[in-house]
Symmetry: C2
Subunit: 197 residues, 2 copies
DNA sequence: CGCTGATGTAAACGCTTGCTGACTTAGTAT
DNA sequence: ATACTAAGTCAGCAAGCGTTTACATCAGCG
């Protein structure tokens, strides 16, 4: 059988260490303000391994995005009723995992300037907005479809903006608001934007 | 008397050229992704003048922020009724000036990492949120004051998120939505978040 | 053992960055 | 004209960047 003791040399393990560290840095500081040496230091790993495992800084960033895509696809299911949407957003913004993973949403706002990476990023955001529109009972097409999608994108904007204001600015009381404190305002926001009319 | 003909060497003029170019670049690409040579080229001015007039890249960024502060104080008055807030936001996001000045709001989301600059930035954002809370009929203190301020900050988050999604992503139909198309959803959002309850 | 491929390390490469100092040019007053 | 100052130019520096190359070390296997 293969070894059960943690290998001192574990390619997949250090790869993951790099991915985690990179995601934290990219999310909190943005792409170009983050240096590969920072990432390597935070991961406790040699700098050259970034290029070995991900070809380039760009490649590492893309890997972070696709990883975020997978995670988002797992946690946020497709057909959640509109009532549950505020819960999901509040959990994503201030859930118990927030310490370790500084809001996956932030990463989706960071651009590297690279075209391919930006396509991935925009693709995730688009599908996010479309799922939101579907939850709002949007018909796949029809007269009001565009309006509902627009409103879903605005709701997504709000979630992303909150993530940014909590992190990049330390705007109180928003920055310290817990999951439950965010829930009520988010419910009213979603209700006004996607349910009422 | 002093000369009335436009001087070919005009310190105040080139200073303003640099400020305008810098604001465009910083807003659209962020601080660290923007190089001083880019700014100088876009302004049609020699690179060294940035350091002459603003001491450093950081100084130029701070000057952009204080300039944005002045402009915001002029355009957005203190006591606008809540009904007018959606108009003001829609105008700021997609008004006729949007081509030249890529949404002042974007600049307020860009961090340079410098402490002083970030204090200025956060100060502008805070006062923005407080004006919003005041429009929502918030009493200066009292039991519900914190909640109203939190909701105002969430409304501000939405505006900032929209600016970001229109620019950094090119998310349709949000990115191409005009002032009038944004107005209705924003009215519903503000109504649900700050008026209703 | 000795060999081999995978994993990690160290040092440097070439390039871009923000910034500087010595210089030239334009405008004005004497 | 001459001298003086403000405004703009130019070449280059030191530092930091992403990346690469050459080397060391370990695991697995005959």
């Amino acid at each position: 059988m293969t070894t059960l003791t943690p290998r001192r040399r574990d390619a997949a393990g250090t790869r993951q260490l790099l991915l985690d560290a990179a995601r934290r840095r990219f999310a909190s500081q943005g792409y170009s303000a983050t240096t590969v040496r920072e990432i390597a230091d935070e991961a406790g790993v040699n700098v050259a391994l970034i290029n070995r495992y991900f070809s380039s800084k760009e490649g590492l960033f893309e890997a972070c995005l696709t990883g975020a895509d997978d995670e988002l696809g797992r946690t946020v299911s497709a057909d959640v009723p509109l009532d549950e949407v505020p819960h999901a957003i509040a959990r994503q913004l201030a859930g118990p995992h927030t310490g370790r993973h500084p809001s996956l949403l932030l990463l989706l706002l960071r651009s590297s300037g690279d075209e391919r990476a930006d396509e991935i990023r925009l693709g995730i955001l688009r599908s996010f907005a479309e799922r939101l529109a579907a939850s709002a009972g949007r018909p796949p097409d029809g007269p009001g479809a565009e309006q509902v999608l627009l409103r879903a994108q605005i709701a997504l904007s709000a979630a992303l903006g909150i993530a940014l204001l909590r992190s990049a600015a330390a705007m109180e009381p928003l920055a310290s608001a817990g999951e439950d404190e965010l829930l009520e305002p988010l419910q009213d926001l979603i209700a006004g934007l996607l349910a009422g009319g």
